[in-house]
Symmetry: C2
Subunit: 249 residues, 2 copies
Amino acid sequence: MSKNTLKWIRTLKDRKARQENQMFVVEGEKSVCELLESSWLINNILCTNFFLEKHQNLIQTYSQKQPTSLLLLKTAELEQISQLENNKMAMAVVKMPPKVLLPPQKGFSLYLDHIQDPGNLGTIVRIADWYGLSDLFCSPDTVDVFNSKSIAASMGSFLRVHTHYVENSWLESYPYRIYGALMEGKNLHETRLDANSLVIIGNEGHGIRPNALSLVQTPLTIPKFGAAESLNAGIAAAIICDNFKRASF
Amino acid sequence: MSKNTLKWIRTLKDRKARQENQMFVVEGEKSVCELLESSWLINNILCTNFFLEKHQNLIQTYSQKQPTSLLLLKTAELEQISQLENNKMAMAVVKMPPKVLLPPQKGFSLYLDHIQDPGNLGTIVRIADWYGLSDLFCSPDTVDVFNSKSIAASMGSFLRVHTHYVENSWLESYPYRIYGALMEGKNLHETRLDANSLVIIGNEGHGIRPNALSLVQTPLTIPKFGAAESLNAGIAAAIICDNFKRASF
């Protein structure tokens, strides 16, 4: 692998370069191992000798299914290309899955309106995976799920939860009840929650924007017993999923 | 304020220096404003002219109650002393409140066993505040709540939730039911939850340690509907608080 390839991998920290190449980077021992167990297309594996020896079987099994390029690096070299702190073992350059235009679905869904923090998005992908949602819907300007920080925060859940960036028209034609997580709505603990429905989670600082807000049929509020002004978007998403899934018992 | 003072403020990023001085640093516009509205003792305020003009009344009202030292800095100077990214306005050096040995309490409590990430701890302080817990209990080796990152993540909730670092003997003599958040326990949604009780949340990577684990009377599990291996400690704490507070309706 040439210097140019390493330089190219470093460019993938930008969303535009990821889009153009349809490639993104997965980092860290655990995530790369989960990837090797999946059927996703790995373009390059970059790892230390230690990782190679520890996970030889996994790498071999994967290579027998799909051709991939393997490069051994020293830890210091790996840290130089890495987009994260504390990646001392492995990274992979991965082909993005083909985009699918998914129509609104039965069951319970989440829609994120302009979530900006990649860590928050990754955390919500992990929560969606815990609560068995196979798809997650976002406004087109929500942060890219293939950002290294989102991938890391998802702890491998990006392999199971598909994140779709959908236009407002998708939301406008959603056929079931639309709830919104808002500061002054109906008490989440005391409201009968529809099994086929979608909850909109707003931006970290500004909440749900007017366009999406106008589509909310039932505003919902997580009951507050103390004095904190708000909850972080990931925490709110988790509590909402827990309440909707409990209701479906 | 001399160069030595600025140097001293920078040392407060270390827990040992914070302990010796019984001082810690609060950063950012919103947190410093909340602090000025509180009765906590502020040793120094360091801010830009913009902050001073915007919050003149707040600063004046505070100074009339308590003497404090004010230093105007340029944004670039402030960023140099700051322990966080993106602090462009204000920081304060604050006296730690006196330590209180709090006996086990009635009602619902959380106990953190060796939480290591300061962001997670701050998030849990914010959640505790949302759910009306006035006190939070931790193992002595849990990360310091006066770490800048914990303070920032708490979004001002450190002013209302008191974090106590208690010895194992405190937990051993806890008189009500002790629950533990574990991977294989009773279903949180289907278990009758005692109003007077405590839930132990374990370390991010290793869970609850044997000492604390041996005190757990009822293991509890957040029901999983999908495939994620685990939930982050802050997310788990939030879902547990929500379920206990819902039960107290």
